[in-house]
């Protein structure tokens, strides 16, 4: 029985990144994964139909952490981009699509009023500037409010300085816009519904917020602070799909000599003398190590792995009350032929979001546990980018659908209802697509919870919203990655700075572990 000094629970992007960071620093790491395959939200795990490749939860890369990409040498381990700067098509039911090229819609072609073109250029530049100022916060532990908390004052001062160096007017704009909502910010500047719809969709993707929800702009800034291959705001699609990114991360950890055990679900944390002493697997096997890093959601970590008996009652209540509602469903279709979205380029990201009002209206019923009649969605045809996804001549459609209820009264009926409205919505943008469908699979937020363990099916393993950000994430007092029990650390998407296939939270947690006095 080899001995390990650190056990990392969960081999998603955060667990893989953290394990790699720790092993690189000389720790001996055991990485445990409940699923049959590592990679978490990027692992190609969801079977669809014979001849079609299994699909991951995340189908695009938005914010892969450059530290992770570099240190894990992901390109050496097989990561190449099919598109490192994926274009977007905002679909129109009349075929009058807008094509958004470059990072964060840098260039727009299609029928757009000249005033909007100029206004967007100005707004985009401003949002990108704000996002760039805030981006460094992602790569450090959240600042603490307590006195003598040992904050990285230099880094924080640099962020403040850079914000101020934008000039008085821009700094004031940052403060004005910081906590505003997407709908108002868009309508202050733009008029074209299709453009506003596409932007509003992206701004709220993965959150439990709609464009009119207070503070939603902050989520957009968070999205824009990511990027691909060093280009801010660029969306990446790996060759072979996101599963290839997961595979590269796994290959990198294996090359480091990290022991990875799949099919090894952890049942609970082993606590001895009020310290983490290891883990107990679901089958009863005990694995010991003085340090345990959980990259499972904070709710799961605190309420299930540690359990109320080892925690203070107030903390348990706060963990239970931490908001974790997912509003995104994932649709996979096996198609017998190429769909035609009225001539739209299938090698782009296809958005069905006719206006910002449509995005808002798709959210309204979800607030009350019902499904929207006209969901908005991000459609990707992976098979259009290269072979390996679908049999010759056939195609695979992967779509992120907003919004879906996380806890409807009748989950099966809600899934069936949303699948039907999805197909109707697709049919109206790609006439004839329903006749091409050979197999369909819709993962509702509760399906995502069941498969990936994300509470409420929330992408961020706990909602990312202003009241659950920075030193409030995942909970006040636990924002520095150290768990409530000595030896236990937390580094999931539920921790700062949130989710995505980034590895950032895990990396930050690993760095915090290495800084901590032994």
């Amino acid at each position: 029985m080899p001995s390990f000094d650190t056990i990392v629970i969960g081999a998603g992007p955060n667990g893989l990144a953290a394990a790699h960071r720790l092993q690189s620093a000389g720790r001996k790491v055991l990485l445990l994964e409940a699923a049959a395959q590592a990679g978490g939200g990027a692992a190609a795990l969801v079977p669809l139909a014979d001849g079609f490749a299994p699909q991951p939860l995340a189908h695009l890369s938005l914010n892969l952490d450059p530290r992770v990409e570099k240190a894990m040498e992901l390109s050496r381990h097989g990561l190449t981009w099919a598109e490192a700067n994926l274009a977007t098509t905002a679909l129109s039911e009349t075929g009058a699509h807008l094509r958004l090229d470059g990072p964060a819609a840098a260039r727009i072609s299609g029928p757009l009023p000249e005033a909007d073109r100029q206004a967007w250029a100005a707004l985009r530049a401003r949002l990108m500037r704000f996002a760039a100022v805030l981006a460094p916060l992602r790569q450090m532990p959240p600042p603490r409010l307590a006195k003598n908390a040992g904050n990285p004052m230099m880094k924080l001062a640099m962020i403040g300085l850079k914000a101020r160096m934008m000039g008085k007017a821009e700094f004031r704009e940052l403060l004005r816009m910081f906590l505003t909502n997407v709908h108002d910010a868009l309508n202050d500047e733009l008029s074209d519904p299709l453009l506003k719809g596409a932007l509003a969709f992206d701004a709220t993707l993965g959150s439990w917020l709609a464009p009119r929800s207070p503070n939603s702009l902050l989520l957009w800034l968070d999205r824009l602070s990511g990027g691909t291959a060093g280009v801010q705001g660029a969306i990446g699609l790996p060759v072979g799909g996101m599963g290839a990114l997961a595979a590269a991360m796994v290959a990198a950890t294996e090359a480091k000599g990290i022991t990875l055990r799949c099919n090894a679900p952890v049942a609970r944390l082993l606590v001895e003398g009020d310290r983490a002493a290891g883990v107990v697997l679901a089958d009863g096997e005990e694995l010991r190590a003085p340090l345990v890093l959980s990259t499972l959601s904070p709710k799961t970590t605190l309420l299930q792995l540690v359990g109320p008996r080892h925690l203070d009652a107030g903390l348990v209540t706060r963990a239970r009350h931490q908001k974790a509602r997912g509003g995104v469903a994932k649709l996979h279709l096996a198609l017998n032929g190429p769909p035609d979205f009225r001539g739209a380029d299938l090698r782009s990201r296809l958005l069905i979001a006719p206006s910002e009002e449509h995005v808002e209206r798709a959210f309204n019923p979800v607030k009350y546990g019902r499904t929207p009649d006209a969901p908005v969605m991000e459609v990707l045809i992976p098979s259009a980018f290269g072979p390996g996804h679908a049999p010759e001549g056939k195609h695979l459609l992967s779509a992120v659908v907003q919004f879906a209820p996380h806890a409807p009264d009748d989950p099966d009926a809600a899934r069936a209802a949303l699948l039907e409205t999805c197909l109707r919505q697709l049919e109206s943008h790609a006439p004839g697509i329903r006749d091409l469908v050979a197999a369909a699979d819709l993962l509702m937020p509760y399906d995502i919870q069941a498969r990936w363990g994300l509470p409420g099916g929330n992408w961020h393993a706990g909602e990312l919203s202003v009241e659950q950000m920075l030193f409030l994430r995942p909970l006040p007092g636990l924002a520095q990655y150290a768990g409530p029990i000595a030896g236990l650390w937390m580094g999931s998407a539920g921790c700062h700075p949130g989710g995505g296939i980034s590895g950032t939270a895990g990396w930050n947690a690993a760095e915090a572990m290495m800084r901590a006095p032994a």
């Binding site: 009020d274 009652a313 348990v316």
Partner: protein
């Protein structure tokens, strides 16, 4: 219930109200946990004297009571409170406290183990949300049973004799144990507990038997000096016994507005309750890391003026603490006090109480020597003697 007419009687009446109201010659009422409670029935000195020389009855009904039951009740209570509940055997009672996550005191109370997996927790403040939140992950049911229980405290050196005359032989009952008797077609539970530091018992039954119990006790106690007492006399007795009251001697954490009013069990002299070895309880990690800033002490004050609320000074100059409860003790013939002092003054020495004595409409400011002394101030052997002496 009285939901629709609550505004007409903002204070509820206990099941003993017909008797306590009739006996309350001074019409002296005060609120206690939403109930009308007698402060002094007739004469404070006589009532206190009865506690120490005869027997007294005090209406305990307003005390908040929770029923805690289930197969994991012991685990639950061990996580909730600081003391080791596994060491409390069925039929036993212990005094305990509980804290919030930061280790600050929420309340104190007495825990009755009625059966292996059924408990009653009696306390000063209401805590149902906290108790229910704490139950997450434990197989345990919690409900408030304040209104389902009628309780009297029977205290004083002749209390065992009164009970014997009433047909309840408690001669073998040891302190902090309880026993049961049939009574008037129902049941009477008697525990050897109390808040006076004297020989005494607490009597627990159902509200329908409240008045028969009162009448039965007074018939049996007529020749043993039994009289009802109000909260004022009880307060003097509890001060002599050195007992604290939540909300008087410390501010419960959930009600604290000022951060520097929060107190840990250690700071209230209750560190001896904490079982560090029993496993985790709420506040344990915070308490382990906490360095006490305050201490809780008993004091004797020069002179004969009650020192309640007095600010304590070191060397008559720098503030050192505050007196939280005080009285002239008729038993000790001394001015006694309980006080919070900054921890460096825990051993006393050169401490002074600034007392404002009202003398014919004018306050006289007195600076009186305040000496730290051991608690309890008054602890007669009879409080523990088993069997108790007969009178």
């Amino acid at each position: 219930m009285n939901a629709l007419t609550h505004y007409e009687t903002p204070l509820l009446q206990t099941p003993f109200h017909p008797r306590t109201a009739a006996a309350n010659r001074m019409h002296s009422w005060g609120p206690w946990a939403g109930y009308a409670s007698v402060l002094t029935y007739e004469d404070l000195a006589m009532e206190h004297s009865a506690i120490r020389n005869a027997a007294t009855v005090y209406d305990l009904c307003p005390m908040v009571k929770y029923r805690i039951e289930g197969p994991e009740a012991v685990d639950y209570l061990n996580r909730l409170t600081v003391r080791n509940v596994a060491k409390l055997t069925p039929g036993g009672v212990h005094y305990t406290v509980w804290c919030d996550d930061a280790g600050h005191l929420i309340d104190d109370g007495t825990l009755f183990r009625l059966s292996p997996d059924r408990f009653r927790l009696c306390c000063q403040e209401r805590h149902l949300p906290w108790l229910l939140d704490s139950a997450q992950g434990f197989e345990v049911a919690i409900s408030e049973e304040t209104e389902e229980v009628a309780a009297l405290s029977l205290q004083g050196p002749t209390s065992a004799t009164v009970l014997a005359a009433a047909g309840f032989d408690v001669s073998a009952l040891k302190p902090f144990r309880m026993t049961r008797f049939a009574f008037a077609g129902g049941e009477l539970m008697v525990s050897r507990t109390g808040f006076t530091g004297d020989l005494g018992y607490e009597l627990w039954t159902t509200p329908d038997l409240a008045l028969p119990l009162w009448d039965h006790l007074f018939a049996a106690g007529a020749l043993h000096g039994l009289r009802p007492i109000g909260s004022d006399a009880l307060n003097m007795a509890r001060l002599e016994a050195g007992f604290i009251i939540t909300g008087y001697d410390f501010t419960p954490a959930p009600q604290c507005v000022r951060e520097d009013r929060l107190r840990t069990p250690v700071e209230m002299g209750l560190g001896w309750l904490i079982d560090w070895e029993k496993g985790h309880f709420t506040g344990r990690r915070a308490l382990k890391a906490h360095r006490p800033q305050w201490a809780f002490v008993g004091m004797e004050i020069d002179g004969n003026i009650e020192a309640g609320g007095a600010i304590l000074y070191h060397d008559q100059k720098t503030e050192a603490g505050v007196i939280t409860g005080a009285c002239w003790s008729p038993v000790l013939k001394k001015s006694i006090a309980l006080a919070q002092v900054r921890v460096q003054h825990a051993a006393g020495g050169n401490l002074w109480a600034e007392i404002y004595a009202l003398r014919e409409l004018h306050y006289a400011k007195l600076m009186m020597r305040a000496r730290v002394v051991d608690r309890p101030f008054f602890a007669p052997d009879r409080r523990r003697a088993t069997p108790p002496a007969r009178f």
